[in-house]
Amino acid sequence: MFESITEKLQGIFKNLRGQGKLTEQNIEETLKQIRASLLEADVHLEAIQKFLEKIKQKSLGKEVALSLTPGQVFIKIVQSELINILTPKDKTSTRLKFAPAPPTLILLAGLQGSGKTTTAAKLAYYYKKDGRKPGLVAADLIRPAAIEQLEVLASQIQVPIFKPAAGEKAIEVCIRAVKSALESNCNMLILDTAGRLHVDESMMSEITSIAQRVKPSNILFVADAMAGQDIVRVVTTFHNKLHLTGTILTKADSDARGGAILSITSTTELPILFVGTSEKMDGLEPFYPDRIASRILGMGDILTLIEKIEKNNEKQQLDKLKLAQAKSFNLNHFLDQLRQLKKMGSLQDMISMLPGDVQMKNQIAQNAPNEKKFNQLEAILLSMTPQERQFPQLLDGSRKKRIAQGSGTRPEDINILLKQYDLMKKMMKNENHAEKLLRQMGMNAFPKRPPF
């Protein structure tokens, strides 16, 4: 199957690591990989080009000195820019527009098979639960049994339905429904229209006339999450003719990466109101830009992972800075460091979140900080008084004995710890030796750095 972007990103990170900063050169390769990944996600080529240009600008100007790996900084930029495109400038635009005088109208438009009828019923169900009084209007007179389909759904969710009478046209049933909505105790109408091709002139003018006639405050484009590149042309035509107010992404429960939605927002800037996530009536969810962003990138867990590590890194950096200021490294600091490491010691978890090579993962897992050892060291340190930790030179034979007893260890273990502490103290002067240090402490935390 597709090489997942996570695998690619591992490669990217490997390449970027240790280079200190993002340069035009090392970014070029990465941009190529991102492009490939966005193509696999069906993002339209032009949208990709626009996107990459932005990423490039942002990255090259970015200060990365404080960060441990430029790769992490870079991918964060990519992610936040994606979210940026998917988040409408006007936050309120993702909400339905309620007409000043009811009924509020929602007109659904889109290609054949995009999921309009199901979505119409889901919307009715959603707003019914929200305390409104929606009605459904069957205005698809083209597809056989489209009216019956809506009828079945309407009775399932128990909302009124307006159907065309014999000989009535789509526009006529819409007009009639709007006129009689209030009488029928509906303050909201959802108009289900026939699927149509954007190049079908007569069908496009049919829906345009409906829109001009009933003036819906919401005209929503229903787009299939599995759509390819051409969706840009489709939505552009619909938008030009209809002045859409938003989109709904359907079939998001597929494993499609959903790049279509990025193409749509990037070309039309239309807000995304809902995402369809199942065939059931309650399968309609609000849109979360961050979720879709990582889905489009296909990154899933890797972002969580990066966040975790970044948090740890930041903290470690801070600690180191504090340390340097204090200029005295005592066992209290040692304990702090240890706890930091231990937190990362849920490394096992983190590793299991990593995509890719099982063998590699096992190797890392084997060499990951040993919980037992950590706990032992911690127990020893905690059996000391704060004063002893601050002034390790206080630790004579009898104190060591007491500490060993208190921590369930042998006095030799205390000596080993003190040696490790000495070593660390020396090493702390040179941050770059942190890794070597860990290895000498027998922890071997990062034999090979995790592949990200």
Binding site: G113, Q229, V234, D253
Partner: protein, 305 residues
């Protein structure tokens, strides 16, 4: 037949125009005699041909141009080579004989791609070939699905078999096939749309196929996946999952009458050996045509010369 081909061409004309436009940009032979491969790459990618397939195509094209260096400025030659590469890809998979005299065609695919419509159109087309066709409504899930197929059956004047209330699709098919060997006929089974990621629904489909395979000779069973030309790279996942699940014997590509290029079938040809059997080119009963690689690619690319 000429009518059908006309229809396909019309359907693909917009595409061809667009590709011609890009093509003109591709070969700007006055100022630079070199081909702009970036532009060409864009053209192929915009048709939903995957990046990998696109790169393969370009590699092949480049090497053909290199071994014919005297023609490296000849846009006619280059277009013809490109056409040939695409046709070859599609044709490898399309060596298949005619449908057997008695045939069961099972239509499968994700939601909304055009399975029911294709069932209706196929029934019409095969009736015209002198077959006795029966439609089977095995979509017991979608609201009014049976009603939709019933309307198609009466529109194209063929018999339809429906299940009883709450009858499982496998049971419906079992009942239909019980009498199958007794006479020569063609049966087209419309199934519920299912996302390839839904394990339960895929199991239901497998069961249904197992039932059919026990009851009739394998050569009589056609398992066709219906794909929408508007679909992007996910079509590859779809084919992979359905193929793994039930062993597909054909692909029907629908909605070719839009501007989407359905280039995904070219990527599919790289991975699977499943012939493309029909194209859907509209919503009326006549809007179906047998797939022809030459025609498909010709309608997609500008004429050589």
């Amino acid at each position: 037949m000429a009518f059908f081909i006309e229809k396909l061409k019309r359907g693909l004309k917009k595409t061809a125009d667009q590709i011609s436009q890009s093509w003109n940009a591709v070969i700007n032979y006055r100022t630079t005699p070199e081909i702009d491969f970036n532009k060409l790459e864009e053209t192929l990618l915009l048709a939903d041909i995957s990046l990998q397939t696109t790169e393969n195509i370009l590699k092949t094209l480049k090497s053909r141009i290199e071994s014919n260096s005297s023609k490296s400025n000849d846009s006619g030659f280059i277009v013809e080579q490109l056409r040939q590469i695409l046709v070859d890809k599609l044709q490898i998979n399309n060596q298949r004989g005619p449908l057997s005299e008695s045939t069961i065609i099972l239509l499968v695919g994700v939601n909304g791609v055009g399975k029911t419509t294709t069932a209706g159109k196929l029934a019409h087309q095969l009736t015209h070939q002198g077959r006795s066709v029966t439609l089977v409504a095995a979509d017991t899930f979608r609201a009014a699905a049976e009603e939709q197929l019933t309307q198609w059956a009466s529109r194209v004047k063929v018999d339809i078999v429906k299940g009883l209330e709450n009858e499982a699709p496998a049971t419906i098919i079992y009942k239909v096939l019980k009498n199958f060997s007794e006479r020569t006929q063609t049966i087209i089974i419309d199934t519920a749309g299912r996302l390839h990621t839904r394990v339960g629904l895929m199991e239901e489909l497998k069961k249904l196929v197992r039932v059919a395979e026990k009851m009739i000779p394998l050569t009589m069973l056609e398992k066709w996946i219906v794909l929408d030309a508007n679909m992007g790279q996910n079509a590859i996942h779809q084919v992979e999952e359905f193929h793994q699940g039930i062993g597909l014997t054909g692909i029907v590509l629908t909605k070719v009458d839009g501007t989407a290029k359905g280039g995904i079938v070219i990527s599919l040809a790289d991975r699977f050996h499943i012939p493309i059997v029909y194209l859907g080119v509209g919503e009326t009963m006549d809007d179906i045509i047998p797939f022809d690689a030459q025609e498909f690619v010709s309608a997609l690319l500008p004429k050589a010369g």
